[in-house]
Amino acid sequence: MSNNASPQKSTDLHIGAAVPGCQKKDPILVADHIKKTFGGLTAVDVEHLEVPKNAITALIGPNGAGKTTLFNLLTGFDTPDTGTWSLMGNSLSGVPSFKVAKLGQVRTFQLTKALGLLTVLENMKLGAKDQKGENLLTALVPAIWRKQDKEIEVKALELLSRFKLDAKKDDFAASLSGGQRKLLEMARALMTDPVLVMLDEPMAGVNPALTQSLLDHVLDLKKQGMTVLFVEHDMHMVRHIADWVVVMAEGKIVAEGPPDTVMKEQAVIDAYLGSHQDTDLGEVTGRIKIIKDGGQA
C-alpha cells in the first residue's frame, strides 16, 4: 500500500516531552479523569488527554483497550462514572449526544450507520444543521423551508461528487457496498460543518480499492481546517496520515507521540504483546497481523 505523494505532516504539536497526557500547544479537546467501569471491569481510565487542533490524531491499542468506549463517552453516547471534558473551552460533561454534535464534534460508528431505507441524497440532507423544515410546525409550510432545502441539496451534491457517490444519489443507501457506506457516513458527518471529526475505524471492512480515496478524504479534512481523531487498527494508515498517535491499553493511555517514534516505544510493544496470554486465538491472530504490518513499514 505505497503512496506516491507523502502528505504534509503537522509537527511540533506538544509542549514538553511526548509522554501520556502531555500538554498540546493548541488543544481543541481536553479531557480529565475520565473513568468508566462495567460491573467492576474498568473499561476506560484516562487521567488527562489533549487532542491537538487542526491535526490528525490516531487512537490505537489492542482490542478491548477502551478506544470505542472512550469515543462513546466523549460524544455523550455513554456516561462516565467520573470525569470532565471540553471542546474549545465549552464543557461537554453531561451534555447529551445530539448537543455534542451540534457543538461541532461529530462522530462516525465502527459498524456503519448509513440509513439503508433512505436514499443517498436523503442521508446527506439529514446531516445539515439548523433546518427550518425539521421543526414540526414549519414543516407543514413548504414555503418556509424549500429554499433552504435546495441550498442543502446543492451542498450535498457537491460533497457527494467529491466522495464519488453522486451517481448513486437516488439509490437506497442499503444498495451501497460496505466501503461506499463508510464514505457516505463520513460525507454525511461533514454536512454538519464539524470542527472535530471523530472516526471510529474508518477503514474497517473497506475494499482496498477504496482505501486510498478514504485516506485522501481524511487528509482533506485537515486541509479544510478541521481536526480529526480516529480509531484505527490499520498501522499503515496510522503511520501514513496521523500527525499524532495516542496509544491505549486496558483503559489507560500508555503512550503518546508522533507516529514514527511512538511505535517504537517499549510501552506500545508491551501493550500489544502483553495481553496475549489471556485472550483467545481469534484475537491473537488478528493482532499478530497488525504487528507484522507495523514492523514491515
Binding site: 447529551p96 449526544s97 454534535a101 421543526n135
Partner: protein, 330 residues
C-alpha cells in the same frame, strides 16, 4: 345462501362510520410504527381517551360538541406525554409491552366502579351526541331529515352527517400526514426509525422527535375514538386489546410505511369482516357446515388471526408497501 343480501351487506361495510374511525386510528399507528418505528400496542388507549374525553366533556362539563372533541384531543396529548417520558427510552419490545399495559390501565380506569358517576363504568356513556340545549354534535347537523343515497349506500341524515364529518377528518388527516412525511421533519423521523444513534450523531434531538411522533399519532388515535363516539356509545368493552390488534392488522394489510395504505387496509379489513360475518352466519343457518351461528362468528376471528400471521410472514410490507421501505428493520 342469499348472495344478494351478503353482497349488499358487504358493500355497506365499505363506507361506515366504524371504518372511518378505525382508518384514522390506523393512520396514527402508521405515524407511530410505520414512520417513527415506535412499537405502540396501546392505540386502543388513545382511542378510548379521545372518545371518553369527548363524551365526558359534554356530559359532565356541559361543553359544546366541538369543545368536547378538543378536550378529548388534549387528553390524548397529555397521555402521550406521560406515556412517552418513561417509555421512549426503552427498547422496542419493552415499549410494546408497556404501551399495551398502559392502554389496559386506561380501560380499567374507565371500567372501575370508583368513577361511575363520570365514566358510567361497564355501561359506558351515551346520549352525548344529541343535547337538549342544542350543543350536541347531531344538533349541529345541517342536513334536513330524510333518506339519502341509494342501494346499499342509503343513509339517514344522522348517519350521513357522521360520515361527512368522518370523511373530512380522514382527508385532513391524510393530507397532514402526507405533508409532514415529505418534509425534512419526516426525513428525520424515518431516519430515527432505522437508527436513532445515527440521527443523534448528526445533532438531532431524537427524544423530542419521538415524542412529537407519539403525540401526533396519539391525536390521530384520539380522533378515531372521537369519530367512533359520534355514532356509538363509548364503553370499556370497545377499547380492548383486540381492537389494537385489529388496527395493527389493517395497518399491516395496507402497508405500514405508506400514507394511503392504512386507510385502504382498514377499508379492506372491515369490509372483509362484514363479508365474513354475513357469509359465515349464512353457512351456519343453511347448515352447509355443522356449526352454530355463534361458532360461525367465532371463525371470523380465527381467520383474522391466521390472516395476520400469513401477512407478517409472507408479505410484511403490506399490499401497497415497497419491500425496500420495509419497516421491520431490527
Amino acid at each position: 345462501m342469499d348472495w344478494g343480501s351478503i353482497l349488499n351487506n358487504t358493500l355497506q361495510g365499505l363506507l361506515t362510520p366504524t371504518t372511518l374511525a378505525f382508518s384514522l386510528a390506523a393512520l396514527g399507528l402508521a405515524m407511530h410504527f410505520g414512520f417513527a418505528g415506535l412499537l405502540n400496542f396501546g392505540i386502543a388507549g388513545f382511542m378510548a381517551i379521545g372518545g371518553y374525553g369527548y363524551a365526558i366533556a359534554v356530559l359532565t362539563f356541559g361543553l359544546p360538541w366541538w369543545a368536547g372533541m378538543l378536550f378529548g384531543i388534549v387528553g390524548s396529548i397529555i397521555f402521550a406525554l406521560i406515556l412517552g417520558i418513561p417509555t421512549l427510552r426503552l427498547r422496542g419490545d419493552y415499549l410494546a409491552i408497556v404501551t399495551i399495559a398502559s392502554a389496559e390501565i386506561i380501560r380499567l380506569l374507565f371500567l372501575t366502579t370508583a368513577f361511575t358517576d363520570v365514566t358510567g363504568s361497564a355501561d359506558g356513556l351515551f346520549g352525548f351526541n344529541t343535547r337538549t340545549d342544542g350543543s350536541g354534535f347531531q344538533n349541529a347537523n345541517p342536513l334536513p331529515a330524510g333518506s339519502y343515497g341509494a342501494g346499499p349506500f342509503t343513509y339517514n341524515e344522522q348517519t350521513l352527517w357522521v360520515l361527512i364529518f368522518g370523511i373530512i377528518m380522514l382527508v385532513v388527516g391524510v393530507v397532514l400526514l402526507w405533508a409532514l412525511m415529505r418534509s425534512p421533519w419526516g426525513r428525520v423521523i424515518k431516519g430515527i426509525r432505522e437508527d436513532e444513534d445515527a440521527i443523534r450523531a448528526l445533532g438531532k434531538n431524537v427524544f423530542a422527535y419521538k415524542m412529537q411522533a407519539l403525540v401526533i399519532g396519539g391525536v390521530y388515535g384520539a380522533m378515531g375514538g372521537i369519530v367512533y363516539a359520534t355514532f356509538a356509545n363509548v364503553s370499556p368493552g370497545v377499547f380492548v386489546t383486540s381492537l389494537t390488534f385489529f388496527i395493527w392488522t389493517s395497518l399491516l394489510l395496507g402497508g405500514a410505511a405508506t400514507i394511503l395504505g392504512p386507510v385502504i387496509g382498514s377499508i379492506l379489513f372491515w369490509t372483509l369482516q362484514a363479508f365474513l360475518t354475513n357469509v359465515l352466519s349464512e353457512v351456519a343457518i343453511s347448515g352447509i357446515l355443522p356449526v352454530s351461528t355463534t361458532q360461525a362468528s367465532t371463525l371470523r376471528f380465527v381467520l383474522v388471526g391466521v390472516g395476520l400471521m400469513l401477512l407478517v410472514i409472507y408479505r410484511p410490507q403490506g399490499i401497497f408497501g415497497d419491500k425496500r421501505e420495509l419497516t421491520f428493520v431490527k
